[in-house]
């Protein structure tokens, strides 16, 4: 066995791959070889480290120096300066956006040291394509312990006692689900992993599958033993090809090691897993629709009960858990339900992974104990809002959730508190919006999404969301009418009460929450035909400020409709009727004299 004096981790999550990390890694390996360092330094391709906007990202151990935005040239410089001569390259370090200080090591970055990583324990740490690295981090130990020392009842009891709740959105107690499926009588049962992560802005499941696929395989196998199933399915979105590839590789490796297949660990328990790839339908994240899709049918939901634990895949009892839920199972088995129960709040145990994106300094994945406040996540962990702008709102729970405003920055992020605040945990997407976001436009955006993804089976969702969208569309075009808000409320209530599945029942949430918190913006759109945030194109008008205009005429030259007229050295004017609001003049004016309102 070769001993290396230094390990260099290169993040190869989908975000960093898009930023070109594979070229960066190739350059690093190549330069190391040229310098004769290849026997001393090991370069490891890991899963998502979490700082997606800083990619490509490299961490050099044992020092733990964190380099961001590393180009191929930078990588060669790291080899020559850092790896060969031991000099940290200051230019490539991360700068704290709030203090402007350079951060020397990974451990000093607030983004990392405020986190508690349980579900993400291995992502960004191990090479997901090498099963030995997973085993070295206690991988498959939980499975061995379960199969050789525990009864199915004990496994179910441990998961129940941990207080773990479903991370996919609804927050149903996981142990209860396992218990229902365990008690269901049948000759055949199934375990399904829901990896149809459809909420826009949420990408923790993708990162776990890409960065630590064995954690899911091991947990599903444990679940199979606990509930009495010998076949598992992972239903993954087709939009995540890298996750599919790494999961497939991991399945093959696990079979080779005898962790999957017949007589696992020489016991009489057998279990195997198949991958099913989705085909682009948001509704398939709903469990009954997902099961229909695995069966190769249109992904339409059906009424519950019967719940899948009683009648699921091909009519057999089926346990369905989300990826992040499964990612918590092995640590619970290894360290015990008591350990897990000490993390988080009274009713929301453990940690939650949030995918923080939008107008925020550090976008990426963060895993924090349940109950951390929104302010801590946004400002302490993720470095606040860029460009000196103000926090306006954060959308949690994706298109099924609601928004939290400045007044709610100090709410604890756990299942109950978020619901009481008019939002929800959902799958953990956290989109931060600054003062430039229009809340009518955002509501329209979410409804456009749910309306488009409505499967069409039940009328309230199919037609109701369409009517709501029409109203919001009108508002953003300056054609809002008195009574529109009341109509939205009425429709929302009907859709919520009468839709067949969670998609429809929750579709009105973003609209209701945004009207509640930003009523004046809605009134401005309807009564004054004005968009206070300056987003809705149709409601904007352009003006030239007399005190700033120098009469250079640039604006008139770029105007595609000849709507700007004037004489050189005099103040130019915009003719409203001709203006198509293309924004060209505003972008062109060197003096900031063109304004939009």
């Amino acid at each position: 066995m070769n001993f290396y004096r230094s390990h260099v981790l290169v993040c190869a999550g989908a975000g960093c791959v898009s930023s070109g990390c594979l070229n960066t890694m190739e350059a690093l390996v190549d330069e190391n070889a040229k310098l004769g360092l290849d026997r001393e330094i090991k370069v490891i391709e890991t899963g998502c480290i979490g700082t997606c906007d800083l990619g490509p990202v490299i961490v050099v151990y044992p020092e733990g120096v964190f380099y961001r935005n590393v180009t191929t040239d930078d990588a060669r410089e790291i080899a020559r300066e850092h790896l060969l001569k031991g000099r940290t390259i200051q230019r490539l370090l991360y700068r704290n956006p709030l203090t402007s200080q350079l951060v020397q090591t990974y451990g000093e970055m607030e983004f990392f040291n405020r986190q508690l990583r349980i579900a993400l324990r291995n992502t960004g740490v191990i090479n997901p394509e090498v099963i030995e690295e997973y085993i070295a981090r206690d991988g498959y130990e939980a499975l061995a312990r379960v199969l050789t020392t525990m009864s199915p009842e004990e496994v179910v009891a441990t998961v129940t006692a941990s207080g773990l709740r479903g991370r996919g959105g609804a927050g149903f107690p996981t142990g209860k689900k396992w218990g229902f499926t365990f008690r269901a009588m049948s000759d055949q049962k199934y375990v399904v992993c829901n990896a149809d992560e459809g909420d826009p802005g949420a990408f923790m499941d993708r990162s776990i599958l890409e960065g630590d696929p064995h954690a899911i395989i091991e947990a599903m196998t444990i679940a199979g033993f606990a509930v009495g199933a010998n076949q598992g399915y992972v239903y993954v979105r087709a939009e995540y090809p890298l996750a599919v590839k790494r999961l497939q590789l991991a399945l093959d490796q696990a079979r080779n090691y005898g962790f999957l297949g017949k007589n696992i660990f020489s016991t009489n328990f057998s279990f195997d897993i198949l991958i099913r790839v989705g085909a682009g339908a948001f509704v398939c994240g709903e469990e009954t629709a997902l099961l229909a899709s695995i069966e190769g049918k249109r992904g339409e939901p059906r009424p519950r009960p019967p719940y899948p634990a009683v009648k699921g895949l091909w009519g057999k009892p089926t346990l369905i858990n989300n990826v992040e839920t499964f990612a918590n199972i092995c640590p619970i088995i290894l360290y015990g339900a008591d350990w897990y129960g000490r993390i988080g709040t009274e009713t929301s145990k453990g940690t939650k992974v949030f995918a923080v994106a939008g107008n925020i300094n550090n976008t990426g994945l963060v895993e924090v104990p349940m109950g951390m406040t929104l302010r801590q996540v946004v400002y302490d962990v993720c470095g606040g809002i860029p460009n000196g702008k103000e926090f306006k709102a954060a959308q949690t729970g994706g298109p099924s959730g609601g928004c939290l405003t400045k007044a709610e920055l100090d709410v604890a992020m756990d299942y109950e508190t978020l619901i009481a605040a008019g939002s929800m945990m959902g799958s953990g997407g956290l989109i931060v919006m600054d003062e430039d976001a229009c809340m009518v436009d955002m509501a329209r955006f979410f409804l456009d999404f749910t309306q488009d993804e409505s499967c069409g089976k039940c009328t309230p969702c199919r037609i109701g969301t369409k009517r709501m969208l029409e109203i919001l569309d009108r508002m953003t075009k300056g054609e809002g009418r008195e009574g529109d808000m009341e109509a939205l409320y009425g429709l929302a209530e009907n859709i919520r009460e009468t839709s067949l599945c969670g998609l429809g029942q929750s579709a009105p949430n973003p609209v209701l929450s945004m009207i509640k918190h930003f009523r004046s913006e809605y009134e401005a759109h309807i009564r004054e035909k004005r968009c206070p945030a300056g987003v809705c194109q149709a409601l904007m008008s352009y003006n030239i400020l007399a005190n700033k205009c120098r009469g250079c005429g640039l604006c008139a030259r770029v105007c595609p409709t000849a709507a700007i007229f004037g004489k050189p050295k005099e103040v130019y004017r915009i003719e409203r009727k001709k203006c198509v609001k293309c924004n060209a003049c505003l972008e062109k004016c060197p003096f900031g004299a063109v304004v939009r309102a």
Partner: protein, 164 residues
């Protein structure tokens, strides 16, 4: 291949892609619920799922053609029409939207002179809108076939398209 002119599906017997389809169908034989996976594989071969392909799949899997059509039209990733050489996907997930994806989309429409779900006259580009691809840290993001372009500013659109 150079020299061959017509590759349309009705000339099925001569086209090697039909053999590939046969292989796919053989591999999934007896697999309950394989329809979606088979359609994926078939679309990889042909670029889209034509009526002839649907008929063949229906026959081989023993399901009614209506069900194949129902599935092919339900899922947004299956296309019943031929698509361009390069498929542009503009991510309209929330993170991308908040960071200006709508303007990027408008610029691409302007540059190519097509609307969403249309293909340019020369068959080069098909413009599509995608759901969140999970690269939210790089928003706004577009994909062109397998290539991903992150943090795409409106003024960079022309440059990116010129690469193809």
């Amino acid at each position: 291949m150079p020299g061959s002119k017509c590759q349309c599906a009705s000339q099925g017997e001569l086209d090697p892609r039909w053999e590939q389809l046969e292989e796919i169908l053989a591999a999934y034989k007896g697999d309950a619920g394989a329809l979606i996976q088979v359609l994926h594989a078939a679309q990889d071969v042909f670029g889209y799922v034509s009526e002839e392909v649907q008929e063949k799949v229906a026959e081989a899997l023993g399901v009614p053609i209506s069900e194949v059509y129902g599935v092919a039209t339900f899922y947004s990733l299956f296309s019943l029409k031929p698509r361009g050489q390069y498929k542009i996907g503009v991510c309209l997930g929330t993170a991308c939207y908040v960071r200006g994806a709508a303007q990027v989309l408008a610029e691409i429409e302007k540059q190519l002179g097509v609307k969403v779900n249309d293909t340019t006259g020369d068959g080069k580009f098909t413009l599509e809108v995608t759901r969140c691809i999970g690269a939210c840290g790089l928003a706004p993001v577009i994909t062109i076939n397998e290539d991903v372009y992150g943090r795409l500013q409106v003024d960079k659109v022309k440059e990116v398209l010129a690469k193809y």
